[in-house]
């Protein structure tokens, strides 16, 4: 938990902070804020974890109990088995990493071409890609569903196959834009030097561009994986069999027949992999949010 150095001043001047009153107000406010944030953001999470330990009767009782009276982990095991959560998790991981692979390979190649190779019509293609940012995929689910169900020209039915998630994932214009902008910042001389040494475009991309681009590749990867984990409407439509569902859809789809405490326990289980993922990549995620390059 690194507190970044504040060499620059902010809204309140250091002189003001240093006065006895200023210091007292600051500490009181700091404690209040920590308490308020913990209640507002950790409180519900606490309620979720303990809710999963309560019996159905305890969950419906008035007033609600702050601590589970008779903590019982059977809800968690019921959820794990009843929702086949291992299956859901493995499905989601398989979709997420496949989508990531497609996005990295095709997205990086496209961004590299748009940034450095600059073929004819490249600008127009980039513009058409960026235009899709204004019309989100949600609005297009109906024609997209029809497309996936009966793929034009080839006539494939991609429903309930991973392809229905992997291929549309590539159309993330924002990630391509992020990559392209990063590649733009790589000096052309570097690429020319590689070319003089006899490297073709693929080799230049692989051994010159990609090693420098590790930070942005990390950011795009994190965006891509979280997007697949959090997506709902699209996987609800195209992975609609119990064996092909994602974890996010599975919680909803299986919840109808189950009691609330089991559903809550399932939600906790579903959240755990994402929280672990977050804690591992916390630094990259935090810096990634600003890597969108939107500066004041």
């Amino acid at each position: 938990m690194a507190v970044q150095s504040h060499a620059t001043r902010t809204l309140i001047s250091p002189a003001r902070r240093a006065t006895p009153v200023g210091r007292r107000v600051y500490w009181i406010l700091l404690v209040l804020i920590i308490v308020a944030f913990s209640v507002a953001f950790l409180g519900p999470l606490y309620w979720m974890v303990t809710g999963g330990l309560k019996s159905a009767q305890e969950m419906a009782q008035v007033p609600p109990s702050l601590f589970p009276q008779d903590p019982d982990i059977s809800n968690y095991s019921d959820a794990w088995i009843g929702l086949d959560m291992l299956r859901l998790l493995l499905n989601t991981v398989w979709y997420a990493f496949g989508a990531l692979a497609f996005q990295l390979v095709l997205g990086v190649a496209a961004a590299y071409s748009l940034s450095k190779l600059r073929p004819v019509l490249g600008k127009a293609i980039l513009g058409a890609m960026l235009a899709t940012l204004m019309i989100p995929a949600t609005v297009l689910v109906v024609p997209q569903y029809v497309t996936v169900h009966d793929f034009p020209i080839f006539g494939w039915d991609l429903l309930n196959t991973p392809w229905a998630i992997w291929l549309p994932a590539v159309t993330n214009a924002f990630n391509i834009f992020l990559l392209k902008r990063f590649f733009d910042s790589i000096p052309t001389e570097l690429l020319n030097a590689a070319a003089i040494d006899g490297a073709g475009p693929i080799r230049t991309l692989w051994s010159v561009v990609l090693p420098i681009s590790r930070p942005i590749l990390g950011v795009v990867s994190i965006f891509s994986v979280t997007a697949t984990f959090k997506d709902f409407l699209w996987p609800l439509l195209v992975e609609n069999m119990p064996e092909t569902r994602t974890i996010n859809v599975g919680i909803y789809a299986f919840s109808t027949g189950l009691s609330q405490n089991v559903v809550i326990a399932a939600s906790v289980i579903a959240a755990i992999p994402m929280i672990i993922f977050f804690l591992i990549f916390q630094k990259n995620i935090m810096s990634g949010l600003t890597a969108g390059g939107i500066k004041g």
Partner: protein, 329 residues
């Protein structure tokens, strides 16, 4: 094979074939053989460039560009027993006549508006306060961001639990103990949309806080310094320094937020069973989903999709037109 990289060696990569050649290219009238070779080189470079693009472009064609056209086409067609025919404005008429049509627009717009009031102002305020803190900032950032990483269905199941309508719900328990009236949340038509907004804001606010925080940290301290010397109080410093300095981020987040909230779907589905009491929760995307996948009315859903597409286009167009020119995006 080796000729190509060598020849691009000294010059900038060709922007387009019409642009004049680099320094090493001989004058065009020297020989026609050279001319032909250069032309072939350009063709080759372009082919390689497009080969790198083709995978992504194919995905965009099939999953983004073609569906846009297809949505418009589908909105004028109806398929019955495998036979597709053109039906003019019939689909538009049918979706327009759906009793939930007006409610869906009202709910979605109200949600967008309320989500702007909360989801726009609150994270900004939190970011400003966090930026003043010299301790525990890392902890507070993680805490604010935690809800964002929950799978949305899991987070909304949690809210369903918090929102239990009788006194067994923790939120009602807290409300009554604070001397406030208890609420039915998503089971009362008057509070449905606000309840959706609260859940959605809690779940999504974290990323906006972090984006704003990063923007605030880029404000040079001298600006506050000189504002203070000129006698500007706290609020005036926020108004004259903080907001103008983060204007670009604010306007971009505004666009992102409106486009995101117009897609409202999972919140009404999980918290209010889709329609809510008396269509108090039905959103546009939910209505679209209902027509396409529950009522087997793809045409009507496509017609609604076209309307939504137009609204978003007009909104984005206005945004681009009204915001001052930005370097990129």
């Amino acid at each position: 094979m080796a000729v190509l990289p060598l020849s691009t060696g000294t010059g900038a990569p060709p922007r387009n074939p019409a642009a004049s050649g680099d320094g090493r290219t001989p004058p065009p009238d020297r020989s026609t053989v050279r001319k032909g070779r250069r032309w072939r080189r350009r063709l080759r470079e372009n082919l390689i460039g497009h080969a790198f693009l083709v995978g992504a472009v194919a995905c965009f064609v099939f999953f983004a560009w073609f569906p846009m056209v297809r949505e418009i086409v589908m909105s004028f067609q109806r398929t019955r027993r495998g036979v597709t025919r053109w039906v003019g404005w019939e689909n538009y008429q049918r979706i327009w006549d759906d009793p939930a049509f007006g409610a869906a627009w009202r709910n979605t717009l109200l949600f967008t508006l309320l989500a702007l009031v909360f989801g726009f102002a609150l994270p900004y305020l939190i970011a400003i306060v966090l930026n003043e803190l010299r301790h525990a900032q890392g902890f507070l950032r993680v805490v604010v961001y935690l809800p964002v990483i929950l799978p949305p269905a899991a987070g909304l199941m949690l809210f369903k639990y918090l929102y239990l309508p009788d006194d067994s719900g923790i939120l009602n328990y807290v409300l009554t103990h604070l001397g406030l009236p208890s609420s039915q949340f998503t089971q009362d038509p008057t509070t449905t949309v606000p309840a959706l907004v609260v859940a959605s804001t809690w779940l999504n606010m974290g990323s906006a806080v972090l984006v704003y925080l990063a923007a605030l940290q880029n404000i040079p301290g001298e600006l506050y310094e000189s504002a203070e010397i000129e006698g500007a109080g706290l609020l005036r410093r926020v108004w004259h320094v903080t907001i103008p300095q983060t204007r670009l981020v604010l306007s971009l987040m505004f666009l992102i937020q409106v486009v995101a909230t117009m897609q409202l779907f999972i919140e009404p589905l999980i918290l209010a069973g889709g329609n809510g009491v008396q269509d108090s929760a039905t959103s546009l995307v939910y209505l679209m989903y209902q027509h396409a996948f529950l009522l087997n009315d793809l045409g009507g859903a496509a017609a609604l999709g076209v309307m939504l597409m137009l609204v978003l286009l007009v909104f984005s167009g206005l945004y681009v037109w009204l915001t001052p020119k930005q370097e990129e995006l």
